[in-house]
Symmetry: D3
Subunit: 250 residues, 6 copies
C-alpha cells in the first residue's frame, strides 16, 4: 500500500528526517510518499504559522492522493489542517499528534506530552479535547525549545526534553510520554530506556495507524463534519501563486 | 473609535449586508471599516472553505489594523481564523458566532443555534466547546439552507428558519435562539416577536462587544496561545498571488 | 438609556465608589441609577451574608425598574441573587462577577480570579460553573483581604493583590486577571501595566455589557428558569420591616 | 437524638404532612422537631420564592439548634438555602432534594426526577450539578402540577406523576425515580409497585441520612465554603419584622 | 434487620476488625453477619487482586443472602465486585469506598481520600467517577503503606496517614478526609480531632447507609445495568474448587 | 510476531469464529495464538458473567505469554478483565471494544455502538468513559439479541442489527458504527455498504492495533494503575480447580 506523509513546513532537513522515520516504521509492502509544503513557513509554531500552512498542505495532500496514496499523515504535532484534510480526501488521514496520543493510550492510563514552545500548548490541549483524549492527558509541557533548535543541537535538545520528562513523571503522574514534535522522533528509544516509561513518537505511530486503517478497509466518514465541500456557484480554485508543486525527497 | 468587520468570503452582496448591519448596530462615534476577502470562497461551508479563507482574511485584518481599527469582527458564524487573528493583531477580535452566543448567555440559561448546513454543526460545536459555552447550548440545528440561499429567497429562508426555531423551543428547551449565519441578520427582530424568545444575531452582537472591549481599554492577552508569531530564521511572507487588496464597501 | 447599579450591602462608601466607577464607564447618554441595600450586611462574605442580602436587593431592583432603569447591575462579585433578579425583572441583569469573567474571555483563553476571602472561593467557582466559564478559569485565588480592608488601607491591599496576580500568572498559567471584588475597581489599570496582562474589573464590564444588551433590544428570556413567579393563592409581600427605601447617591 | 425538619414555606397543611412523614421514617429514639417558616411564601416555585424564603428559614434553623436538634432537614426539594444553613449551623444539614438523589444512587445507576413546575427544573439541575449527581441523573421532568395542587386533588396528582414516571422509564432510561416535591411523599410506595422501579422520596431519605450522620459523629466541615460568617464591624441582625417565631406542629 | 459485611480478602485479623467496626456502628436491632472470602488474596492491592477476589466474594454474598441478610457491605475500599454484586443480589449493596465518600459529601463540599498504595489510586478515581463523585473529590493520595502494614504497626501507620491528611488539607483544599482502607477504621476519631476536619471511615458509613436503605424499603433497581444474569443454555456454576465456605467470625 | 487472542467465554464455535477473524486480519508474519476460557460462562452478558470469567481469562493470558505472545487481545466487547490483564502481562493488551472504538475515531468524529443486550450498555458506557471515548460516542444501542443468537440465526441477527444502525445514523448523528460483539465480526463489510458509513469490527481492529504496538516496541506502562501485583506475605495462587488448561483451536 502507499501512504503519504506531508511536512506542512518548508524545511527540507525536517522533511528528510520525517521521511526517514516514516520509512523505518513502515511495514514491508508499505511505500511511503513524502511531500514538503514549499509554500509553508519554515516551522509551525502557533496559530498563525498553522493557518498559513494549510492551503499548501491541502494542495500537497491532493497530489498525494493523485499519486495513489491510500492514507495520509500530516507530519506536524499540531495536526495542522487535519479536519480540512479529512473533508477533502477519500482515504483516512491522521496527524502525528493525535497518532502518538492514541498509541500512548494503548499502554498507559495517563500520558504527558512534552512539546517545544508554550505557544503550542493551547493548540495541543484543544486538539486533545476534540479527540476525546484530554481526560487521559496528565499534562502538556513546553520545553521552550524552538522547533529548529532540535536540529541545530540535538544533544542539548535531548537533555532539555529529558529533564521535562522527569518532571512529568514525578509531578504530573505521567505513566507514558508523548514526544510533541516531529523533530523529536530520533530521541524516543533512548528516553524510554532512561526514564523507564513508554515514550511514544508521532511519525511512526501515524504510519502504523494508517497501515491498520488501510488494512481494515476504513475510509473517512462522509456524513457530518467531514462531508466533502459543495461545488459553489462561482468557482473557487487553489490560488495558483500560493502553492509550489511539492517535491518528493528520494 | 474604529472597528473593522471582515467578510471572509468573496460575495459582495453579503459584504454589503454585513457592513450595513454593523453600521446600524454601531454607537454614534463608532466608525465601521468593512472589508471583503476577495481571495476567499463565495461562501464558507465546512472545514475546507474555512481553511482556504484564512490567509486572505488575516491579510485583510492586517490592513484593517493599518487603517486604524482598534478592534475587529470576523463576519462568519464559524469564527473562521479567530485564534490566528488574535495572535496577529494588537486589538481585540471576535467572531460573530462567539459574539452571538455570549450575548445570549446574558439573557437566557440555555440557547439553541439555528445554522445553515449540517456540515457546519461540528465546527460550531467545537467552537462552543472551546469558548466554554457548550454546557449552555441546548442544540445546534441545521436548517439545510445553503448560505447563498438566504439571499436568493429570503422569505422562504425565514420560514425554514422559523420552523427550526419552533422545534428548538419545543423539543430542546431553548430559552433563546442564536442565528447561525451572518446572512440571517435581518430576520432577528421578526423571529423574536413570532416565537416570544430572544433571538440574537451575530454581527450586531460582535460590534457591541468590541465597542465594550475598546471602551474598557482591553487588548488581547499575549501570554499563552495568542502570543505573536516569532520571527523565523528564514523569511516567510504572505504569498503575493494569494490575496487581493481588500476593498472597502462605501 | 438608564442602567441601575445596586450595592447589595449597606456600606455607603462602597456604594459611592461603585457609583463613581459605573458613571466613569458609562457611555455618553447612559444614566446610572445607583442604589444601596440598607437592609443588607455591611459586606458580603460567604453564603450567609449573601442569602440575607437578597430580599433587600430584590426590593431595590424593583424600585430601580419603577424608576425607569432598562438594565441592571448587581454590584457584588458573588453575583448575589442574580437568578432571582432575572426572574423578577423585565430588563436584562448581570452581576459584576459574571460580567468581568465574560469580558476576560474576549481577550484571553484562560483567566484567574483574585478575590478577597477564601470563604468566597466555592461561591465563585459555582457561579463560574453555572455560567459555563469554569473551563476557561485557571484559578480562583483568595488574597485573604476582608472586603472592607480594601477601603481601610488601599495601598497595602493593592500590594497584596499584586502579589497574588504574580502567582496566578507564574503558577496557574493565567493570561488575564479578573479582580474579584467591587472594591478593587480602582486598581485595574495600574495592575495591568505592572504585570503586562489584561486586568478586568467588574463594575465597568457590567455597565458596558448592559449597555450592549439594551442597544440590541435584548430582554431576559421568560421561558424556563427565569419565568416570573406565579401569583399565589395566599398573598406574600416583601415584609415591610425588612427593607429600607434604598437611597440614590447623588 | 433530635433532628429538626423545617418547611421553608408557610402552608400549615404541608408542614403537617412533612412532619408526619418525617416521624414515620424516624428510628425509635429519634425525636423530630418540625418548624414552619411563617415568613415564607405559601409554596416555593422558582428562584424568587426560594430567595425570599431563606432569611426566615435560617431563623427557624437557628431556633431548632437552640432547641437541641443535632441535625437538620430542609423540607423543600429545591434544597432552599442549603449552603447558607450549612455555614450557620454546627450540626449537619441536608435538603430533601439532595437526600433523595443520594439514596437513589445507592440502588440505581441512573435515576430521573419527577418534579412539579418547569420553573424548578434549572434549579434542580444546578443543585444536582453542584452535588456531583448530574451524571447519574437521566432527566428532570416537570409534571406541570403546582405544589399546592398535590394537596387539592391528590388522586389526580398521582395519576399525572405516574404518567411522567412511565415516560422517564421508557424514554430516558431511568432505573429509579426520585419524587421531586415534599408534597409527593405519600405516593412513593404505590408508584414503586406500579412501575416496578425504586421510587425514592425526600423527607424519609433526609431523616435517615441525618440519623446516619449523627450516629457517625459527623459535623459540617468549617474549612472552605461552609466557614461560619465573620463578625462584622457594624452589626447586622436578622431584621425583626422579617421572621415570625416558627411554630412546632404537635 | 440483618446486614452482611464481607471481607473480600482472606486475612482473618482484618475480618475480625471489620466485623467489630461494623457491630459498633450498627443500630440496636441490626444484626451484622460477617463473612470472609477464604478463596481471596491476603489483601487487595490493585486490579489483579481485585479481579481474583470477586468469584469468592459473590459466593459469600449469595450465602449471606441465604442467611437472611437484607443488605450487604463489601468491606474493601476498592468496592471490589460491587456492580456484579448488585446484579446478583436482591437487597441493596454498597462498598465501603462509595459509602465513605457519599457520607463525606453530606458535610463537606470537597474531600480527599487517603489510601494505601499508589496502585489503588486509579481504581479509586474510576470508582469515584462512576459514582458521580469525582468533581467533589479534591485528591486521592497514596500513603505508600501496604494494607497489612496497618495491622503490623498501627502507630507508625497512623503517623504516616496523619502527615498525608495534613498535605491534603494544606495543598489540595480538602475540607474533609475519607480514610481509604478498611484497616484504617480505628484511626478516624483521633485524626479528626488532630486536624479539625471531619474524617470519614467506610465500614461504619456503609453500615449506616445500608440500615437507611433497608428502613426505606429500597432494593436495587433491576432495569438496566444491574439486571439479574440470564439463565444460559449451557449451565455455568460457581466452580467448586474456587470458593471455600465462608466462615462467620463470632 | 505472535499475538494471542483469548475468548473469555467457553463457547467453542465462537472461539473458532474469533480465531478465524483474527487470522484473516493478521499481517503476513503475524501468528495468532487463540485460546478459550473453558472455565468461563457460555457467553458474557452483564457484570456477573464478566466477573466470573476473569480468573480463567487471566490464566489463559498467562499461558499465552508463556507461549511467546508479544501482545494480547481480549475477545469480548466488554473488554472483560482488561485492566487486570494489563497489570499482569508484560506485552500490550487490548479488548475488542476499546479497539473498535479507537479505530472508529480515526475516520469519524462521532460513532455509535450497536451491541447485543441492554444489560451491557452501562458496562460499555463505563468502558468508553474510562478510555476517554465517551464524548465521541453518539450512542450505545442494544439490539436485544442474545450473544448466542448471532450464531443461531445469523441472517435474522444481521437484519436486526441493520435496523439499529439505520436508527443510529438517522436519530443519533452517528457517522460510523462500531459492532458491539465479537460474534458480529462477519457482518461488517455488508453493513458498511448497505448504510454508506464505516462499520468497524473489534477483532480485526484489535489485531491491527496490537501489531502496531509491537512494531513500535511499546509495552504497558508499569507506573501507576497497571503496576504488577506485589508478592504477598502469604501465598495466593490461581485456584487449581478454577481454570481448565485452555485449548488452542487449530
Amino acid at each position: 500500500m502507499r501512504i503519504s506523509i506531508v511536512n506542512p513546513n518548508s524545511t527540507r532537513s525536517m522533511t528528510e528526517t520525517i521521511a526517514l522515520a516514516a520509512r523505518q516504521a513502515a511495514a514491508r509492502g508499505t511505500e511511503i510518499l513524502a511531500y514538503q509544503n514549499d509554500a509553508g513557513p519554515v516551522s509551525i509554531e502557533g496559530h498563525v504559522d498553522g493557518a498559513l500552512a494549510v492551503p499548501g498542505l491541502l494542495h500537497a495532500l491532493a497530489i498525494a492522493e493523485r499519486d495513489g496514496a491510500e492514507a495520509h499523515v500530516i507530519a506536524c504535532f499540531d495536526d495542522t489542517g487535519l479536519e480540512a484534510a479529512r473533508s477533502v480526501l477519500a482515504g483516512p488521514v491522521i496527524g502525528i499528534g493525535e497518532a502518538a496520543a492514541r498509541m500512548a493510550t494503548l499502554v498507559a492510563r495517563r500520558f504527558s506530552v512534552v512539546t517545544t514552545l508554550s505557544v503550542s500548548v493551547p493548540i495541543l490541549e484543544d486538539n486533545l479535547q476534540r479527540a476525546g483524549l484530554s481526560d487521559l492527558c496528565a499534562s502538556v509541557r513546553a520545553s521552550d525549545l524552538p522547533v529548529l533548535a532540535l536540529e541545530a543541537d540535538p544533544e542539548a535538545a535531548e537533555r532539555t526534553i529529558s529533564a521535562e520528562i522527569a518532571r512529568a513523571v514525578a509531578e504530573d503522574g505521567a505513566e507514558a510520554i508523548v514526544l510533541g514534535c516531529a523533530g523529536m522522533a530520533g530521541f524516543a528509544q533512548a528516553l524510554s530506556q532512561e526514564h523507564g516509561v513508554p515514550v511514544v513518537e508521532g511519525v511512526s505511530s501515524a504510519v502504523k495507524l494508517m497501515e491498520a486503517a488501510v488494512a481494515l478497509g476504513l475510509k473517512t466518514a462522509k456524513r457530518g463534519g467531514y462531508a466533502a465541500p459543495r461545488l459553489k456557484d462561482r468557482g473557487f480554485v487553489y490560488p495558483e501563486g500560493m502553492v509550489a508543486e511539492p517535491e518528493l525527497p528520494a
